[in-house]
Symmetry: C2
Subunit: 242 residues, 2 copies
DNA sequence: CGGGTGCTTGAGTAACGTCAATTTCGGTGG
DNA sequence: CCACCGAAATTGACGTTACTCAAGCACCCG
């Protein structure tokens, strides 16, 4: 189910300058009068359906993508053929940074639900960043943030009890909700239990058991993919005891 | 045991143009005649002793570092205070990319043995990269490679048998030895079993047991920190069965 | 209304961690 | 050069966590 991103500029419903996500995306790097130049290279097209492929490992690297709505997971394939989910991306976040400087995409990106994206052709962005030092600096910053977020995941995935891992992931989602000025205690979890398990290095049954356990503790309330944080303090304690 | 890196330019034993590591470090981004400009900003000083701190989490971010000889580990500290080793760095590799764009270092870097480094002040590098498109592109490439290498580690640290993790790490070291035109079957492992375990999410005893098991299988020969690969094919199979 | 997918729950087990004892190694000073 | 000390590594016995296998339930979509 590959989605082709030809005619990237066909629909332009929303401009960066009007986008609710612009404080956490690329625009902060540019003055208002320069935003048009960014606008000119960005492509927007119809949303990708749930399960649709944004880009696939090995295909030609052309653009990085900003998530506008919905959510994306990225996976890489290990030598024995099993897929490892390397990240989840929510609105305002940038996907594809791991492929910069390469001919082909180094991971596969899949929509977790109907997802709208802005395509940013990298060659044009690099060209633009040559004229705008702040933009170039911002790209550096985005990439180093990606490295750090991977390090946080490594901490989480390391030798730690499963409950800590799950609590930490929930808190990470909550923090990212807050960045977008959404209620941080009402988390929509668009990915399956299997995806969460894969990402954290746990069996999907373990994830499920931990959700019910947290619910029994009165820390969260689980309703399918909707999770409400009832006791934030306690959840923090579960994520990092002592 | 903090090492102060004042007087960065005091000793300049080796120039980039003569350095054996230059094919895998920064220089490939620049033409020979531009290499002098890079040379001018690079600082080299006396080696850091085993256990010495190259930079510490929270201190002022000033430079990224190329490992010249020896080896470096980088750690980040989790909320509950435990340290997680996020990477090992061998000669020719660049440390500190995760802090780019930030005021302070976002991890701590420690020498695993006596280690010589080249300090590359980032502000000056960024300035230089403004004039040399290829250098800017190379920095992008380095950073995206760092992201990908983190993804590989995540794969390894995920839900996989301990033997696969250890075999994969050994192969990663072997590959990096080969890049430097060293014998890929004769691996010097500068870090402790505890460091390896921390990095892979295993107990140090488990690492030790697996080394002896691999030895019993005739795949490797362990002699303290010196490991010889006797059967590369079999080691590959252990890393990724099927 | 049916079928399928995803989620939950349970029982048994294997893999790995913890604790503890011993050996080896590397560095230091006599 | 050798003896000594402490740190690191090895090995063993035991316990626990989380995985596997399996069955049943809930929900979504057509």
């Amino acid at each position: 189910m590959d989605i082709k991103h030809l005619n990237l500029r066909e629909s332009r419903a929303v401009h960066c300058s009007e986008c609710a996500l612009n404080p956490i995306c690329l625009p902060p790097a540019l003055a208002d009068e320069d935003l048009d130049q960014l606008e000119n290279i960005i492509g927007r097209n119809r949303p990708i359906p749930r399960g649709g492929v944004l880009f696939r490992y090995g295909s030609q690297f052309e653009a990085i993508y900003a998530v506008r709505s919905g959510a994306i997971k990225t996976c890489s394939i290990s030598a024995n053929g099993e897929e490892q989910i390397t990240g989840f991306y929510f609105p305002g976040e940038i996907v594809g940074l791991d492929s910069i400087g390469h001919q082909t995409y180094e991971s596969t990106a899949i929509a977790l639900e109907s997802t709208a994206i802005c395509a940013i052709p990298f060659e044009a962005l690099e060209e633009l960043s040559r004229k705008h030092t702040t933009l170039n600096h911002h790209i550096f910053k985005l990439m180093s943030s990606e490295i750090r977020s991977d390090h946080q995941i490594m901490q989480m995935a390391g030798k730690r009890p499963a409950e800590e891992k799950v609590a930490t992931l929930l808190l990470s989602f909550a923090t990212r909700y807050k960045r977008r000025n959404l209620c941080e205690d009402n988390i929509h979890v668009p990915m399956s239990r299997a995806d969460i398990g894969n990402h954290l290095g746990l069996a999907l049954e373990t994830v499920s058991r931990i959700f019910t356990h947290f619910q029994e503790l009165g820390v969260i309330s689980v309703n399918g993919k909707q999770i409400t944080v009832l006791n934030r303090k306690e959840l923090l304690a579960l994520a990092a005891p002592c």
